[in-house]
Amino acid sequence: MTQTQAAKRPKPFVFPEFCKGCGRCIEVCPKECISFATEIHPQTGLIPIVLDLEACNGCGLCITACPEPYGLRPETPGADFELQDPEAMFGPRPTAAPEPVARPDRTVALPELAPMVIKGNYAAAIGALLAGCRHVYGYPITPSTEGAELMAKVLPQLDGVFLQAVSEVAAVNLMYGCGGAGLRAMTFTSSPGFSLMTEGLSYMIGAELPGVFVNLMRGGPGLGNIAPEQADIKQVCRGLGHGNTHAIVLAPATPQEMLDLTLLAFDLSIQYRNPVIVLGDGYLGQMTGRVTLPTRMVEPGMPEWAVAGDGEHRRNLICSIYLSDRDLEEHNRHLLAKYAEMTSREQRADLFYAGDAETLIVACNTPAQMAKGAVQELRQRGVRVGLFRPVTLWPFPIQKLLPLLPKVERIVVVEASPGQLEDELRLALSKASVYRPPLIESVRHYGGVLPSQSEIVAQVLAAQEVAS
């Protein structure tokens, strides 16, 4: 290297307040130009280096050795670095990346189609495809597996992605990444798998990411069995991982609703930037029935907040960290406001002969169909009984229930769980300041046994006898 070239190479400079005094530069300098200062820097409490550049040939090894982005830097040619200040040097704005703009969804009309005869799992998968979902991540688990199987078959034909994850833990984090990129991701799972996903759900809720979870509940606790149960209601309504979490929980009762509510789940998930749970029982995944397709499908746009991996979205961050307690409290207030909005706007229920019911059955999923059969049978006998079927389990549709209560003498909660639906009902009544609710009775089964129509009929009739 000639003397002239060496002279042209910039020499290092450093703002002492940005030097942590690690000394990596000192030992790498061949000309021994760098040493530790003799005094602690008053702003950092650290001893920075000092430069004596008389012998410096601008080799740059010190700059490569400095771990700090704004530590040792080449001096700007012609500038008097003694007079420079960081603000002026590094720019006032944190980034030059543009402000992204949301690209809205487009709805596309579908031709008139014949009803399909398909399993609930397939119906949910088709609902997701029509909602614009082309990314499915999952782990096989009975009784939800056919959803993943159909997606594995269909998505390659639509240039989508089905990826079988190493576990449910990985599956939810694949959804976190894909949802973070602004796309519609989903999974099919069942109770034990859903438990594993709750860690990731807490992160998705914290980072405000969309994603749809179809959970077809099976018998528990533990490995339990693969028969239908409803004992994840507590988990989805009250236990979505750690922290202040909630998600809208939609409870289908038929294969048709497996499609309709999965489609709706994507809308709500994108709208609120929050995961949505489609909670069915094992029967709903396995049951084949008539499914009518909607008249429209969605071609998804791109939300402005996504980390899409392009220049437009470069400034974005997907993150659930708020290190300062004040910031995290503010974030929680924001989440709570969102939950409040969901609670006031998204309560859904289906009523069957409920208007004049003196005995009101409360049930969801397949047991609600059994209950519907019971109501029909009892009405033929002249019993004033009706069905209140929550379609959203969270938020519990208390606004739809309150107007019915003046006529209701008894509530019979029918469920394949040890009172988890009843707990949601009681909590909702309590929060609505209904301090003297009607007498609440129950028909319950556990471990994969569903309440039967005849049991429900018997319970309602027994209540009638007591009343009369």
Partner: protein, 473 residues
């Protein structure tokens, strides 16, 4: 050697106030800053700033997103590779970097890193190995050296704690990755190599070659209880003995298949889900009220392979094509792959309510255990069809239930294909109960066989023999 990849001001670092606006949160002498710098320089040199998505892990480098002016996504502990694949599959043009420490990658995230590496989808993993847990305060890492003292190995790591895990070797042993190298930061020569390796890891992704992995031996002076110079020497002299530096895998000719970009066209979607505008032909003149006023319950039961589920599905389809509602619940799980197999079917005039069929109007039993179990549950006035080729003893069945023993297996065997015994059963069911018109069931059979047309005449014959066997009964 300066780069615009760092934010002009670190606004996410305590709101960018004071020194934090331009200083990292790392301790003096920490290797993370160097790895960040080399990553930033490589992004700059390759011109991929806009496309880059950096995944911040949990650990000391959890705040990577404070510094890098790229798309940022922060992952749960150990899950960064899964999050990275989520981003990559969402946008194949994105250059996704999973930056992880040794607790994150080699302990809690082992399943994610090993499966992602073997998957081979092009992402770049920068693995910082400093042989200690930094953020939680100096606990033992999977990479802690034997004898090394830490907060959870206070007298030094001993054999009861297992030996240090060599991740680069483990990852290089997989067939998925295209490039694996271990580098260090302790002197100018190693830093040059480290920078090149990080750049190469990104190039592997830009060129769509595949999954790349760079393990960086790094200094944690704070938790080693050393000054930065001692820590550098310790890495050079002690760590490299256990974690030898160098290239472990490089397959320059490898190319990963192109990742798909979704289509939202209507026609391919309808074709893929087999949705059609063609309404099926109807044959029924009304609901079979002679069986039940509004809702007929059926149970089809046998051994796995008897075809009970297929027959149930055909009834459901035929009924829905006739404009009725119908449901079919299979017994699912281990028994559906052998053993017993039950199907509950309802055909309802308007809506199926209770979809289970504990007390059916119609039972089709393909074997003796099924008949013994469900025969007594058939409702009075109902119908039982059982395979008389295999069932010798008929259990007590309620008075008023019609019982038809039909040699289903024998008829099917005579036709040359035992598998059509379920279609024989459908024919018998049709003739014995009048649940649905024969044309209706035959149309469902033909539709199911539309890709195996050659099988249609045999099935039609089987159906006819089933009908005949009941009529002549």
């Amino acid at each position: 050697m300066t780069t615009s990849i760092f934010y002009d001001r670190f606004e996410r670092h305590a709101h960018g106030e004071g020194l934090k606006g331009h200083s990292t949160h790392y301790c003096p002498g920490c290797g993370h800053g160097l790895a960040h710098k080399f990553l930033a320089e490589a992004i700059d040199e390759l011109g991929i700033q806009d496309r880059t998505v950096a995944i911040s892990p949990v650990g000391c480098s959890v705040f990577l997103y404070y510094y890098m002016d790229v798309g940022n996504s922060q992952a749960a502990h150990g899950r960064a590779p899964a999050v990275a694949i989520g981003h990559k599959t969402a946008n194949p043009d994105a250059i996704v970097v999973s930056y992880q420490g040794d607790g994150d990658l080699a302990s809690i995230g082992l399943a994610e890193i090993v499966s992602t590496a073997q998957l081979g989808i092009p992402i770049s993993v920068i693995f910082i190995n400093n042989a200690i847990y930094g953020m939680t305060g100096g606990q033992m890492a999977p990479t802690t050296l034997m004898g090394q003292k830490s907060a959870t190995s206070p007298t030094g790591r001993n054999p009861l704690m297992g030996e240090p895990l060599r991740m680069a070797e483990l990852v290089a042993g997989l067939t998925g990755p295209v490039y694996v190298e271990r580098v260090a930061l302790y002197d100018a020569k190693q830093r040059t190599r480290a920078k090149k390796a990080i750049r190469k890891a990104l190039e592997c992704q830009v060129e769509k070659r595949g999954f790349s992995f760079v393990e960086v031996l790094s200094e944690c002076p704070t938790h080693l209880g050393m000054n930065p110079q001692e820590a550098e020497r310790w890495v050079a002299e002690e760590m490299t003995k256990v974690f030898p530096l160098g290239l472990l895998k490089d397959t320059p000719e490898a190319r990963f298949p192109e990742l798909p970009r979704p289509s939202f066209a209507v026609e391919p979607l309808l074709a893929a889900i087999a949705a059609t505008g063609e309404l099926p032909e109807r044959f029924a003149t009304g609901f079979p009220k002679h069986l039940a006023p509004h809702d007929v319950a059926l149970k089809l039961a046998g051994a796995g392979g008897d075809g009970a589920q297929t027959a149930a599905m055909l009834i459901t389809r035929a009924a829905i094509h006739e404009g009725f509602d119908s449901t079919h619940i299979p017994s699912y799980g281990p028994e559906s792959r052998g053993g017993t197999s039950y199907a509950d079917v309802h055909v309802a005039e308007r809506e199926v309510l209770s979809p289970a069929a504990a007390n059916p109007h119609i039972l089709v039993a393909f074997n003796a255990p099924s008949l013994a179990k469900f025969g007594p549950a058939v409702l009075p006035g109902g119908t039982v069809i059982y395979d008389s080729s295999v069932i010798r003893e008929v259990p007590p069945i309620a008075a008023g239930v019609q019982v038809h023993g039909v040699p289903l297996t024998q008829i099917a065997a005579d036709l040359g294909r035992v598998v059509v015994k379920n279609v024989v059963a459908l024919g018998a069911l049709c003739a014995a109960t009048g649940l649905l018109p024969r044309e209706s069931l035959l149309a469902a059979i033909r539709l199911a066989l539309k890709d195996k047309c050659a099988m249609i005449p045999l099935n039609e014959e089987a159906f006819a023999w089933g009908e005949k066997s009941v009529q002549t009964h």
